[in-house]
Symmetry: C2
Subunit: 611 residues, 2 copies
């Protein structure tokens, strides 16, 4: 046994989706980090497989969505089947599996291993983050007063050798799953219910004449219940409830052939066999939560370490990725000295509410969809029950992460109406007119289509919001072909360009992206009436080697016969325009008028650090 000491800025325990997302932020921002995992390599088969639209948006902000979207299976239809007295199961209805328009991506399915592969590839492009397999923590100490106060003893065990070393780190992120060693070491617990209802999961290539095998299906027979999830290539995942007599026998001894047999019985009179069984497991339904997400403002828990639930809504991997997506840029900003460490407290408040909602939703999902009285469904044979419909719609909206709304904090502004009621949609002063009636402060900026002013290429505004640690300040300048409006934009630009303003001082700290504020103009004048070069230089920064940066000005207009534009309408922004300040994780921090430059300065002054 050798014993030595390493030091790193961030130690991440667990190389599952939550840990890898944390590592991805560190790689992107150049923060020194180490990820350890007890497994010998990434997930090979099975485990999570659902990717929600919000997760795709996040992956895309690191350039990782394309290849995952290309390989994933997009599930369009949801088909409900029920038992009928005589003839076995019959189709009750087919409906839309995703609510259109919530995101530019849709829910899709792909094995967890392939998603991890993309993260690992991204991380390995950088030199700042290291992944160590076969490694697990055995001791945790906090050393107050040190710059590297978190001390973890790590053991690494392979067939050839066993080593042990100490890692001193500034911060620790525990992504070590439902049985988190770190959580236990901190004296924290998952609390909640565990039922004795058991389900089997099986990934297979089916040989079947069941006609809806490539749709998402919920099948309820007298014998048992089944959910079918079509997957990448010809794979299909089946979730199957174990009938009591089977559950007693099967527990801990997973015989996939028995699971296939249950599916076969449920789908009867259709044929069903498995050609290739890739993976299978059995789980007990339960919803459990740890309400402490961080300790000492140094140790943070994420993913299954703080929330476990049934896998059938395909939420697990998504909420886990979204947990550390929320945390990563904050840590990078603090470690780089760009922001006060107090911003890290927002992780607890922002993500706990999401975890609570996840657990509540999962309960509704299990009850609303799978414990529905099958007799009642026969009565409404042509349509879904309201409860079921509501639950499934919630799955598409709030549960997918696109509607997550973070509460006011040092990183989300607060605004009130004239009666002192808090608003998520700020008003024009002295009016009841909302500045951006379809945006909410605290929610992620939804996508919209705009055109580059310089070359008229259509562009998704969300694609501007790359995850680099930068903040994005959008100036919705209105119709700048009108003189008065152009004057307002020029005044704001000149405020933002003055040497002594905070925005400027923040941007001139160094050349690093983290903590910078990038400014963009989105106008709604006819694009041919605007001369790019006559706009304030703030929007067309010049570099002596690269020339002008022409891609910071957007027009909100339709493009020839293509239906584009309508960004102002989609965001609910009026002729007077507004400013929208967006955090590095794409959540709106502030919506203000074009004239209230002071509000931006005040907000940033609260947490930004100027040396």
């Amino acid at each position: 046994m050798t014993q030595n000491t390493l030091s790193t800025d961030v130690l991440i325990i667990g190389a599952g989706p939550a840990g890898l997302m944390a590592g991805t932020w560190m790689a992107q921002t150049g923060i020194k980090a180490m990820i350890i995992d007890k497994m010998p390599c990434r997930t090979q088969r099975g485990h999570a497989d659902g990717i929600e639209s919000r997760t795709f948006e996040i992956l895309d902000s690191f350039g990782m969505a394309d290849s995952i979207w290309k390989h994933a299976n997009r599930t369009i239809d949801l088909s409900i089947w029920n038992d009928c007295e005589s003839d076995g199961i019959q189709r009750q209805c087919i409906s839309n599996n995703c609510t259109p328009g919530l995101s530019r991506f849709q829910e899709a399915t792909l094995g967890q291993g392939q998603i991890e592969e993309n993260f690992i590839d991204f991380i390995q492009e950088s030199s700042s983050v290291e992944v160590k397999w076969n490694s697990y923590p055995v001791d945790l100490n906090m050393c107050e007063g040190s710059d590297y106060p978190v001390r973890v003893t790590v053991e690494m065990r392979t067939s050839e050798r066993e080593t042990s070393y100490t890692v001193n780190s500034k911060y620790l992120i525990a992504c070590d799953g439902a049985h988190s060693w770190i959580r236990t070491a901190l004296g924290l617990k998952l609390e909640g219910d565990q039922t004795d209802e058991k389900w089997g999961v099986i990934d297979l290539i089916p040989l079947t004449d069941f006609p809806d095998i490539r749709k998402r299906c919920i099948v309820k027979s007298d014998y048992s219940q089944l959910m079918i999830i079509p997957r990448e290539r010809r794979l299909v995942r089946c979730y199957v409830q174990l009938p009591h007599e089977v559950a007693a026998v099967l527990w801990k001894e997973v015989d996939p052939a028995l699971l296939v047999n249950i599916v076969k019985k449920i789908l009867s009179p259709h044929t069903f066999e498995a050609s290739n069984i890739e993976w299978s497991t059995i789980y007990t339904v339960g919803q459990r939560l740890c309400t402490t997400l961080s300790m000492y403002n140094r140790v943070f828990l994420a993913g299954d370490a703080i929330h476990t639930h049934s896998p059938k809504a395909g939420q697990g991997m998504n909420v886990s990725i979204q947990d550390t997506y929320n945390l990563g840029w904050k840590l990078a900003s603090v470690i780089k000295g760009k922001a006060k460490s107090s911003i890290l407290h927002t992780y607890q408040t922002e993500r706990l509410q999401i975890a609570i909602r996840l657990i509540e939703f999962d309960k509704r999902m299990v009850q609303g969809v799978f414990q529905m009285d099958s007799a009642s469904s026969v009565e409404n044979a042509s349509s879904m029950s309201n409860q079921m419909q509501d639950t499934l719609e919630e799955e598409n909206g709030s549960a997918s992460g696109v509607t997550a709304l973070y509460k006011p904090s040092c990183l989300i502004t607060r605004s009130w109406d004239s009666k002192g009621h808090q608003l998520v949609r700020p008003l024009l002063p002295y009016s009841k007119i909302e500045l951006a009636g379809k945006l909410a402060v605290g929610a992620r900026l939804p996508n919209t289509q705009v055109l580059f002013q310089c070359d008229s290429r259509p562009w998704s505004l969300q694609r501007v919001l790359r995850s680099t640690g930068e903040w994005h300040l959008f100036i919705f300048g209105g119709d700048v072909s009108i003189n008065t409006q152009m004057t307002r934009v020029k005044r704001l630009a000149s405020e933002l360009s003055r040497d002594e303003t905070l925005v400027n001082r923040i941007n001139q700290r160094d050349h690093d992206c983290v903590g910078k504020i990038s400014t963009y103009l989105v106008h709604c004048a006819p694009r041919k009436s605007v001369d790019l070069m006559e706009l304030p230089k703030l929007f067309i920064p010049f570099d002596e080697n690269l020339g002008y940066d022409y891609w910071r000005v957007f027009a909100d207009e339709e493009l020839y016969s293509e239906k584009r534009g309508r960004a102002y309408q989609q965001y609910g922004i009026g002729a007077e325009g507004c400013t929208v300040l967006v955090r590095p994780d794409q959540h709106v921090a502030l919506i203000g008028t074009l004239d209230d430059f002071a509000a931006i300065e005040l907000f940033l002054g609260n947490f930004m650090t100027l040396v």
Copy 2:
């Protein structure tokens, strides 16, 4: 000097776009081929840069479009500037640079080297095709009666060594450019006009306040003329006409700084400097053509070896790629013994007409756009001249390759109306009703959107047409929820499934894709009314390891709130349906009724080989 003899099925001279496209077909179909090129490696900078929509469709059929589309610059606007008496140039108008709706891709620009890189990556994935650099032909002989009748002596020269060897091949493709050694060796010539008008080309990163620098621009000043092509990253290509006094000095001594100076003068009073000049050259405008495209049915010429012209319409690389895209699958089919060698004669007839049109178009382009009287344009200062507009529209349509229409031959059926006039749009028997009024026999199948019957995923029908050497037979079955229509589809399917039919015997020759006929059903019944498993087994082939192939049946229907479907409407197909047989290069070979199975058999019997 060592001397030895190698043998290969296809020897390709030249590793430019035409040669690499030929090599890509050989790699895809597993045909042994060798590509030689006198250069030490692929193009590094400059040369061609325009990719037309049809070329993207072709690249996509090999899975190569995504990465090229991602890196290329899409050019939306075309901006025309003219000199004004006093103030220098002024913008005359901005219009659409591409005609929407012709293709699912649009014209874009990317350096030739990056496109070659994609081809080379594809070729190197296969083991059947070898690329040899620093190698050129020095001798060509035909050896009649041999299986490998084409004998080429190749010299390979590097700084370290010089070798020479003989390559015996079944076929030779000469893609060795405007100064083709092979063409000269065959005693053939490029014929046509060469003017003394000289143009400079320069790829640079501009430092300029000219506001349309990221649009395609045509700028005519009293001093000279300029075309601006925005490119990938921050690059811009400038084509600039050399004023006579400069042309005399510059010829053969390209000083890029002088070219930049001419651009600067034309764009005055705007500023213009180059930060980085990547590449530059000078050319003389001319249009030349070699009307013999093949000799001995063994040697084929393609690309610049048969047509040279001015580069400004961005056609060169496209027509070259399209030449060998036409040839490659035919060669593979003959070499594999799937088709008679007589099909190779269609290369000459199909591509010569395209080359002739290219040359004619280029003349119109040079005259219509660049030699227009600048006085006349001032009169219509707000709009383009009709001649210019027509030429530019032609550039988007016919010149881009999407409307190429191949004439009847053994590979394109012929049909007549009752008066004996030939039709490209076959009629229903005893009627004047067109079977598919918006498709043309001989043209490439345009794209349309359909849904997979099994999982409702929207799909571009053109994506089914992967370039593998397979033929694709689409059964447009009409509304199969109507009994009589389903009966017709079942009868056709049963004909196609009989052991003794030609289609079946062709498909059972072996497991290779080349020459196979794949069958698909596209119906227009409401998709929820169709039970996939009740369709003829022809459309849901079963494999004992992979299960059913569920992805050969498509529904023509809108998808929830998304605008999809309308394939029947877009193709002009009526309720009675039709069959559409598509060649391996996506061109429609036959349009027939659902009942005229004999026509398909007759057509295939003409050129398919059955051992």
